[in-house]
């Protein structure tokens, strides 16, 4: 695949729909919950019954302002429009959305690597109901009929539209990952792709490397995980390059990602092109959040992932896009690193990223001060690496005090003098091997270190032991 790609650049823009974490729907008091019995969270408004009218949810507006501010958008006076099209999952046969004056415009999101992706807009709109296709294995085209549940109809969404600023499937995934982290950190959405509270459509095009013109794009829908997003973008870019290579042209269209087949397919039906006939929603009045409200929203935002990565990087002397920093921030474990003595931040970062991160549930419970004391014990040579790991495991399992745990386990680091003694004994017991090591057969270092480890029951600092062996040999 890569050889086909040479000389081509992939261009990706993403449209992300995120369900807002409100208690109620966007325009009515029905509860915003997932997984209830069908058609139990409905009312005249979200069923679009004749005579019903929408009333805007203040919290939905506030959450939209939060994500807009977090994405460095201009939060501006806005208006709702109706987007008209017939579809059974839409009770009014129009969607209340925002059009030419969205609540948030012109922002950016910084990827861990430092690249900025432009945010064109992040607007409010209502979700549709859920359609189940009956017969034909649940596939729309082969189904005999369909069933509609309107529990999801009217759930508040924010649609976040990026600029076509991403250049690979990897970047597209990194963008969604970062966006999800921001949505979760700001409390705007739970960001669950599996439950559909985060849905991603990708606009993919290709162009000759070095070109500054955009190629014809296709919109890819139905990707249910980051992995399928990556695969779909890869597949689609290759498909387009192949088409162009064969002298054919890419048609602008919406394509459906088939996870099983690993392919995108055209979604065009016999339907004519849509004409949404947007016009201002007359049942709602314009929205113009006062500066004071905006100020409160901005002041209440938590530190965002990019800022936290920069802080951790500075603290630990690593790079903001290092795996350790990215992992720790993604899992929200910054507090552990920050609680450790600053001179041991690098060690604290390593332990957090490597050990703590492997059990996120226990990590959430881990007491930062206890963790900090453990890091100090290890850094001060009171515990060896292996002992420190064991104590950490216990600490995560049952909490408590690291020194007490270490004492319980009988851990006591050998001081430098007693380690030397052990090394002497080991060398004396294996003269032949020592001679070979002294003559330069370096791999025997492992042999001796292993013996030291065995002799001390694992309590020795093996790095120290290795250093002693070498200095005894004379380098």
């Amino acid at each position: 695949m890569t050889e086909v790609r040479t000389g081509w650049e992939t261009v990706v823009g993403l449209e992300v729909h995120a369900e807002l974490s409100t208690a109620t729907k966007l325009f009515c008091g029905c509860r915003n919950v997932f997984g209830e019995e069908p058609n139990t969270n409905v009312c005249p408004v979200c069923l679009g019954l004749p005579g019903s009218l929408p009333v805007l949810n203040r919290m939905a507006v506030e959450l939209a302002m939060r994500i807009g501010t977090a994405l460095h958008c201009r939060v501006q006076p806005s208006q709702f429009h109706r987007k008209n099209y017939f579809y059974p999952d839409m009770p009014k046969d129009y969607q209340i959305s925002q059009y030419d004056v969205p609540i948030n415009a012109d922002g950016w999101l910084e990827l861990p690597g430092g690249r900025r992706v432009g945010i064109v807009r992040a607007h409010l709109e209502e979700d549709t109901g859920k359609t189940t296709h009956v017969g034909g294995g649940g596939r729309i085209h082969e189904a005999s009929h369909s069933l509609v549940d309107y529990n999801r109809a009217g759930v508040p969404l924010v649609e976040i539209v990026s600029a076509p600023d991403m250049r690979s499937a990897e970047e597209a995934k990194a963008y969604v990952d970062e966006l999800r982290a921001i949505l979760v950190a700001t409390g705007v959405s739970d960001g669950k792709m599996e439950e559909g509270s985060l849905r991603v459509d990708a606009n993919v095009s290709v162009r000759p490397a070095g070109s500054d013109q955009l190629g014809t794009r296709c919109e890819i829908k139905n990707m249910n995980s980051l992995r399928s997003l990556g695969r779909a973008v890869e597949y689609e870019a290759s498909r387009q390059i192949r088409l162009i290579g064969e002298g054919r042209t890419v048609i602008q269209e919406t394509r459906h990602w088939d996870e099983g087949a690993g392919k995108t397919g055209s979604m065009r039906s016999k339907e004519e092109a849509y004409d949404y006939r947007y016009f201002p929603e007359p049942d709602l009045v314009p929205l113009a959040p006062p500066a004071e409200w905006l100020g409160r929203v901005a002041a209440s935002l938590p530190r965002l992932p990019a800022e936290r990565r920069a802080a951790l990087a500075a603290l630990s002397g690593s790079s903001p896009d290092s795996d350790a920093v990215v992992t720790v921030v993604r899992l929200g474990l910054d507090r552990l690193v920050e609680a450790a003595p600053p001179e041991h931040a690098a060690l604290a970062l390593r332990r957090t990223a490597n050990e703590v991160a492997s059990d996120t549930e226990a990590a959430a419970r881990l007491d930062a001060r206890a963790f900090a004391r453990l890091v100090a014990l290890e850094a001060g040579g009171k515990l060896t690496v292996a002992q420190a790991r064991t104590v950490l495991k216990e600490l995560m399992r049952r909490g408590g005090d690291p020194e007490e745990i270490a004492a319980e386990l009988g851990f006591e680091a050998l001081d430098a003098g007693s380690l030397e003694k052990v090394v002497d004994e080991v060398v004396a017991a294996h003269p032949v091997e020592w001679e070979r090591f002294a003559a330069g057969e370096d791999k025997l270092a492992g042999f001796f270190v292993g013996l030291v480890k065995k002799a001390t029951g694992g309590s020795a600092d093996l790095g120290e032991a290795s250093a002693l062996l070498r200095s005894r040999r004379g380098g």
């Binding site: 208690a23 009515c28 058609n39 189940t132 369909s146 829908k221 979604m267 314009p286």
Partner: protein
Amino acid sequence: MPSRITPEDVKHVARLARLRLGPEEVQTFTAQLAAVLDHARDVEALDTAGVEPTAHPLPLVNVLRDDVPRRGSDRDEVLAEAPEVEDHRFRVPRILGEAP
């Protein structure tokens, strides 16, 4: 002002509005809509340069409701009005295309 509405335009809007028209209806509606649109041409004379459009007759802003759940409708009462129900859901004939 755009050119006069044609029978093709009428067929197009009927499709968008999910209405079926017979050939005679297309002719009748085309003539009737053309008459109304011709009458609307009197606004051509009005200079509306720099005039803001009015979407709402009164200048209200920021009408909001608190995010507090309220009891919705009774499912049985709602489904009793539906032409066809299956499995507590609204049943519809097969759908040929995905949502746009």
